[in-house]
Amino acid sequence: MSEFLPKHYFRPETASEASQTLARYKDRCIVIGGGTVIYELAQRGLLSDVEALVDLTRLSLDQVKDGERFTSIGASVSLSRLQGSAALHEGRLACIGDALREIRPLQVKNLATVGGAVSSCIPFFDLPVALASVGASVELNGPHAVRSVPILEFQRDFLQPDLREGEFVSAVLIPHEMASRASAFSKFALTGDDWATVNCACSLEIVKGVIREARIVFGAVASKPLLAERCGAALVNRRAEAASISKADESLDDELGEPISDHRASSAYRKRVAKLLLRTTLERAFERRGGGG
């Protein structure tokens, strides 16, 4: 295994300085949030070409703020801090609260950041799946402009974020209208601390007991989170009750295709688990809204 021996540790004072550093080192540098993913990747010998770490701590990206249209979660907000944030109080964005409770151990959660969880593009992570279910976008700060990209587009593939030269993740944006949706997240893992074998998140717009829109996302079944569009569409105009779930279930086999097969589970096993998680997750979301809307 190649050793991970970066030569530089940069702590830029401004976004512009951060972009310049990233542009100068290109693939030979990596942004460090809490460092827990970097540690994991380094242990696996995947970062031997990295010469520089770029720490964004001094850019004040550690706030959760309510803007005009979005709740903005700064890239440096730790997962523990997000879990305690007012943005998740009183049942708001419940699927994100669920996902954060499922992330263990606490020692990692105290270090790991939202920016790291998103930009690492590891398909077994929990937070990106929950964020995708509430239509989150990733705010990218570049040398010339700031742009935002839906998280499902940003995560192009395994370890492949949509980052242009000099860009870094500065925040995750969640549209305000998502906060009041009935949502839930469920996870199946082999041990209490393991990454997901399969996870699932949903957010539902329910009006007078009837589902008007449903976003259902699965993780750990493909190289990036999978939006099960037909599964969600099958729930539209149906009552938010257990009897409707079988409709969503019908298209799931086809929509999941052939899930990944690895040391955690075979493809067929993941498919069976995904089916169970779909039911659990929807039921939990229905309960939260009491099916009444």
Partner: protein
């Protein structure tokens, strides 16, 4: 070209320290090899066992997967920083009285996790005490030590 060395300042167990750090160094390495605080152990080195747990800014972290640079300007508490005036901390007393040391190697990690838990919440739920020591079915004695700490902490 060798790695650029940075001077990092951290308060460790109440004492301001300044150490020369290279970017790859973990907090665990700095504590053990540069500051000779060997109470903090290196266990699995894969973020899995918890033996290396210390407090950074009052929060429990794995020192093996915390880059030392992340601790610059921070407050670190290790097992050597518990207790005062030659007396053990209540948590250490409870662990000793319940013979909850296991083989002793990862005990500092157990104790520091317990410390973070009780600092944040003096009256934790049993599920939280279980989570703090991980793999809890096998660790009934650390859990009973926490119950004692909970009782005495209230007194």
């Amino acid at each position: 070209m060798g790695a650029r060395v940075e001077r990092v300042k951290m308060n460790v167990n109440g004492i301001d320290r300044e150490v020369e750090v290279e970017p790859w160094m973990s907090l665990n390495f700095v504590l053990r090899e540069k500051l000779s605080l060997t109470g903090t152990k290196k266990g699995c080195d894969t973020g899995g066992c918890g033996a290396c747990t210390v407090l950074l800014g009052g929060e429990a972290v794995y020192s093996c997967m915390t880059y030392a640079m992340k601790a610059d300007g921070g407050r670190v508490t290790t097992i050597e920083g518990l207790g005062s005036d030659g007396n053990l901390d209540l948590i250490q007393v409870a662990y000793a009285e319940h013979y909850a040391l296991q083989c002793g190697y990862c005990t500092p990690g157990f104790i520091m996790s317990t410390k973070a838990l009780f600092d944040a919440n003096p009256d934790p739920h049993s599920s939280e005490t279980s989570a703090a020591v991980r793999a809890t079915r096998r660790y009934s004695r650390p859990r009973s030590s926490m119950k004692q700490k909970k009782r005495k902490g209230r007194a």
